[in-house]
């Protein structure tokens, strides 16, 4: 569910960048983590678990809990809270164990 911009007022932010999240454009600011940008835009769910399909998202914010996992530029299991945004970054919410590509 989208709740509008959760960024605090009164803060100047760095240069704007755009990411693609599940194909949709999401605006972020250089220096933000993918998690911060996702949360700021109201996207709280990063993945659906493999056993029950339940939603998970940002929990500990410091790279320990392994729940904010997303697929970034086709690489699964990236911790959104530890991944910096970049212009053109392609982020996908992850289903289950993710899709691990490669010819083998």
């Amino acid at each position: 569910m989208i709740h509008g911009d959760a960024r605090m007022a009164g803060i100047e932010r760095g240069p704007m960048v755009t990411m693609l999240v599940d194909g949709g454009v999401v605006v972020a600011y250089e220096g933000e983590s993918v998690a911060a940008a996702l949360l700021a835009s109201g996207r709280r769910t990063t993945r659906a678990t493999s056993r029950t399909g339940e939603s998970r998202g940002y929990f500990c914010g410091m790279g320990v809990c392994q729940d904010c996992l997303v697929t970034v530029d086709e690489r699964p299991n990236a911790r959104a809270c530890m991944t910096p945004v970049r212009d053109g970054l392609r982020v996908h919410t992850q289903r289950g164990l993710g899709e691990w590509g490669g010819s083998r």
Binding site: S50, R75, G96, L97, G98, W100, G102, R104
Partner: protein, 376 residues
């Protein structure tokens, strides 16, 4: 302090001990199993989980025989075992590929293949392309060929132990955890009782299933057992969707992918005493071996490692025998690298031996005296 008597005391709660307790209890025998830690906490829970009829390791004994029969018994059991106990042991006959990257190895596999094929074991010879097609996730520039056995497979060894223990308990066995066997009382040429940290258990039979510590139990009756710890280190990755479909072995390290999706990479065979540490060199070595052979693993993270202490005998074959001196002592030790493969078979023959029946498979090759004879 005297604890309730039992017909049989099993010393050791690994896969061999719990299997023995399971089959013994199935005959109405009063069984007490004594384990100083928990079920399956040593080698039984620290291995790769392979159940291989035709394997990279057994290539030293190309003729199927008693070891084959032992494995066959386990394979037959695992196909349905656990389900009725409510434990999914994750047994899967996914098939196994044994490959060679050197001419020497190729020759060894060829000899083994011919031997097994002669005995009607389903094994298929593969050329390099056949190896790659059999397991597309696997890549090696130097594959010279190999063999595929559709009956090879994998199991979750931790849950296998849980199932044996649960089954034993349901059949009336008493399982005492956190209890140490200190001594085996024997007199007049017969075992009489096991002295434990919780008291003495009078019994008629004692099964030594103490794994890498079998020799300690042997010492309790003045018996020298040539069983020493052989450390095996293993790496484990985070889970990912199934992409390694076979059990692959033939060059270090071997790899398999579990039901959950973790890839198990291992294992070493080394003499490190009772040290269960994982070394930085092994980690680097296994990673360097696994990534080129399974390229998808490059970006996959290792999340765990461990080491188990295999109970190794000089000829890698177990010692399964009901002793005459002291009478009532049954050895089920020294399963070396194949405890998981031999567990059900071992449990069954232990039950045979103690019941006084001719064992369901020939045990001559597993007598303790073979070591003295070899030395002589």
């Amino acid at each position: 302090m005297r604890l309730p008597a039992a017909d049989v005391v099993v010393i050791g709660g690994g896969v061999i001990g719990t299997a023995a307790a399971y089959y013994l209890a199935g005959e109405g025998t009063r069984v007490t199993l004594v384990e100083r830690r928990g079920i399956g906490q040593e080698a039984s829970g620290a291995n790769v989980g392979l159940v291989t009829l035709f394997s990279g390791h057994s290539l030293d004994e190309p003729d199927p025989g008693p070891l084959y029969e032992l494995t066959r018994a386990s394979i037959d059991a695992y196909e349905t075992f656990g389900a009725d106990l409510g434990v999914d042991i994750e047994y899967e006959q996914c098939g196994g590929v044994v490959f060679a990257e050197t001419e020497e190895k190729l020759a060894v596999i060829r000899r083994a293949y011919e031997g097994y094929a002669k005995h009607g074991v389903p094994v298929e010879w593969l050329d390099p392309r056949g190896v790659r097609e059999c397991e597309p996730a696997f890549w090696s520039e130097r594959i010279l060929g190999g063999a595929f056995c559709p009956v090879n497979g994998q199991v979750n060894p931790l849950l296998l132990c849980r199932a044996f223990a649960r089954g034993a308990r349901r059949r009336g066995a008493r399982i005492m955890l956190g209890v140490t066997a200190h001594n085996v009382y024997h007199g007049n040429g017969r075992v009489r009782a096991v002295c434990t940290s919780e008291g003495d258990i009078p019994c008629e039979f004692v099964v030594n299933a103490a794994g890498a510590w079998a020799a300690e139990v042997g010492d309790m009756v003045g018996q020298r057992l040539p069983v020493v710890p052989a450390r095996g280190q293993i790496l484990l990755t985070e889970p990912l969707p199934r992409f390694i479909h076979r059990v692959v072995s033939g060059a270090e390290p071997s790899a398999r992918q579990t039901r959950r999706g973790n890839v198990i990479i291992g294992s070493t065979v080394e003499n490190a005493g009772y040290d269960k540490g994982v070394t930085v060199d092994t980690i680097a070595h296994f990673a360097a071996g696994a990534v080129p052979r399974f390229p998808r693993l490059a970006g996959v993270s290792v999340i765990r490692s461990w080491a188990g202490l295999r109970p190794a005998t000089p000829d890698h074959m177990p010692i399964i025998e009901l002793m005459e001196e002291p009478a009532g002592l049954c050895l089920a030790v020294g399963h070396s690298r194949r405890g998981i493969c031999y567990a059900a078979g071992t449990g069954r023959v232990v039950a045979d031996l103690i019941a006084g029946r001719p064992p369901s498979l020939a045990l001559d090759a597993f007598r303790l005296s073979r070591f003295a004879e070899a030395a002589a």
